[in-house]
Point group: C2
Chain length 343, copies 2
């Protein structure tokens, strides 16, 4: 029997709040029999809504009351100071108190990061937490992970090196890869190119023989390379990630429009309906939902604000996997080992 896993869900955040979180929670409870979930939010609203669902193990679902909600556009500093009974804050508190092994929120990224950092603190030896997610990879079945996606801008080379270590440990544990290949996002593959930040980071990474650093990678190879982890400053990583999201959306619209041009293209669409459905499924960003706030003394997963029930389920699964491998402990061990060696 698998070990009991308890995850707190911020049930009120995200564009649709409990309408997405509750059905996703029930779906996951059915799928994983070792899973226990705590819905954090308005007790009355949640219990009324939960009662509309049948045939799931009620013993593995509990509700924890929180009277406030952090708005999607709320300033992180305001959320941190004035929303102490928010569903987001309480979910993170439950992780801090060890009453949950992880939490998942579809709330405002800035507020989630600020609160998680304040409540949980960073791991020893880690300057700053980062945001990491997996992306589809072109030429194989596996995914590629990229960090930082916007938690930090103007990161120092030391911080970027720590990101590389954290990304490597996470990928190694979750994907069972012994020495994940790490690359640094840059604007040219030759050593002379790049900004100061990247040049200094590559020097540091080359000094760590325990890291499988393979060099630079350019933007056009993010989804098409043989590397496992891509490291970038949060500014650059965020622009790249959002550019991918924007273009995927752009092309999906283009395909739709092209198939709706005239009667002939409508007929073509009818004949292609299964192909188009398959394409839509493959291009669906929900499949890659669930980014990790990495570098904290606890597991915090960020779901997209406008995800679907299926997408929020993937975010819960990300939490389950990180709990199973105890990723924060693994990172702490690796960083301690590297720091000891550096002395």
């Amino acid at each position: 029997m698998q070990k009991k896993t308890i995850i707190a869900l911020d049930a009120m955040s995200g564009d649709q709040g409990l309408r997405i979180v509750v059905p996703a929670a029930i779906r996951m409870l059915k799928k994983y029999t070792h899973l226990h979930l705590i819905l954090v939010g308005d007790q009355k609203l949640l219990s009324d809504y939960v009662q509309t669902f049948k045939r799931f193990d009620k013993n593995r679902l509990s509700i924890y009351h929180a009277s406030e909600v952090v708005a999607m556009d709320e300033k992180p500093s305001v959320a941190l100071r004035s929303k102490k009974d928010s569903s987001m804050r309480i979910s993170i508190n439950l992780v801090k108190q060890k009453r949950a092994q992880a939490c998942v929120s579809a709330g405002n990224t800035g507020a989630l990061m600020a609160t998680a950092r304040f409540v949980l603190k960073t791991l020893p030896g880690i300057n700053r937490p980062a945001i990491i997610t997996s992306l589809p990879a072109d030429n194989k079945l596996k995914r590629v992970r990229m960090l930082d996606l916007g938690a930090n801008v103007d990161s120092s080379a030391v911080t970027l090196m720590q990101f590389a270590i954290m990304g490597s440990v996470l990928t190694s544990a979750i994907d069972n890869i012994k020495h994940p290949k790490i690359a640094l996002l840059n604007i040219g593959e030759e050593a002379i190119k790049g900004n100061e930040q990247v040049k200094k980071t590559t020097e540091l990474l080359l000094k760590h023989p325990s890291l499988n650093y393979v060099g630079y990678i350019e933007g056009d190879r993010i989804l098409n390379s043989n590397v496992d982890v891509i490291v970038a400053d949060g500014f650059v990583g965020n622009v790249a990630l959002k550019t991918i999201e924007g273009l995927a959306h752009f092309i999906a619209k283009l395909i739709k429009k092209t198939f709706k041009q005239n009667i002939m293209t409508h007929i073509a669409a009818l004949f292609s309906i299964f192909v188009l459905k398959s394409l839509k499924k493959q291009m669906n960003p929900d499949r890659y939902n669930g980014a990790t706030l990495i570098g904290l003394r606890g597991i915090v997963i960020k779901s997209h604000g406008n995800t679907s029930v299926e997408g929020f389920g993937y975010a819960i699964e990300t939490a389950i996997a990180e709990v199973a491998h105890n990723v924060p402990q693994l990172i702490e061990k690796e960083v301690t080992k590297l720091l000891r060696r550096a002395k």
Copy 2:
């Protein structure tokens, strides 16, 4: 009758050199009767190849001999120092000597930028040249222009402001837009987000009432916004551009693969052949070929290294449009005006 336009073409650079440049040149000579082209490169090879083409106005095509070629992977500093008779260098020299009003090269970007900057110099009041190109825009017929795409990293706020001015002048002239909307690429639309570089730049831009600065834009809106010019540091702009190229390629492969899964999807592809062709055409990067090295005392257009005949033709058309509007002179005028006002 339109004024005579003379453009020098680096006929030896790019992945396929003259095999692309010469047919594109002849196609453009047929299309534009005021156009005169100078093919720069190996006299013998070029004249032999030109002779295989019929039915074009030979009086408007000349060959200028250059004995060397800059390799696609040659270091810019080496090209600049040791390849003084390269087709790239000679093409730029012809612009300097006013024997051509613009030049187009599909060669190595770094070498082209270094050589152009050395030979032509930057415009008065401009610190550094930048690379600007147009991209498809989602919700309307017009395009959006983005700069810098990799000429400069770690740009100062003043440099980024100059990029905004140059982008605005070019867009205004070519697209006939009175006050182009300018946005700064950032990781959040709120004023508190962003790195130091972006925060300082926004302050400067807000001080210039003659610029139509509309604020921040995130990566997901590069192709889907109502702005005309997007300004970014060359590191970030290059990552965004390459990410777009990589993902477009990724999705094109995905579509192809999905339509080739089994006999049913093959049949769907047959029924959709016109739709797929139209999609391919719309997603074809050649349509957006031709980036401008902006901020120089002369017009230099960079074509993609692996473009098609059609794509190189678009790059020549970019040069024709910039000659017609005399973009460098317009930029100089605007910068002088702003500098005078600042005093």
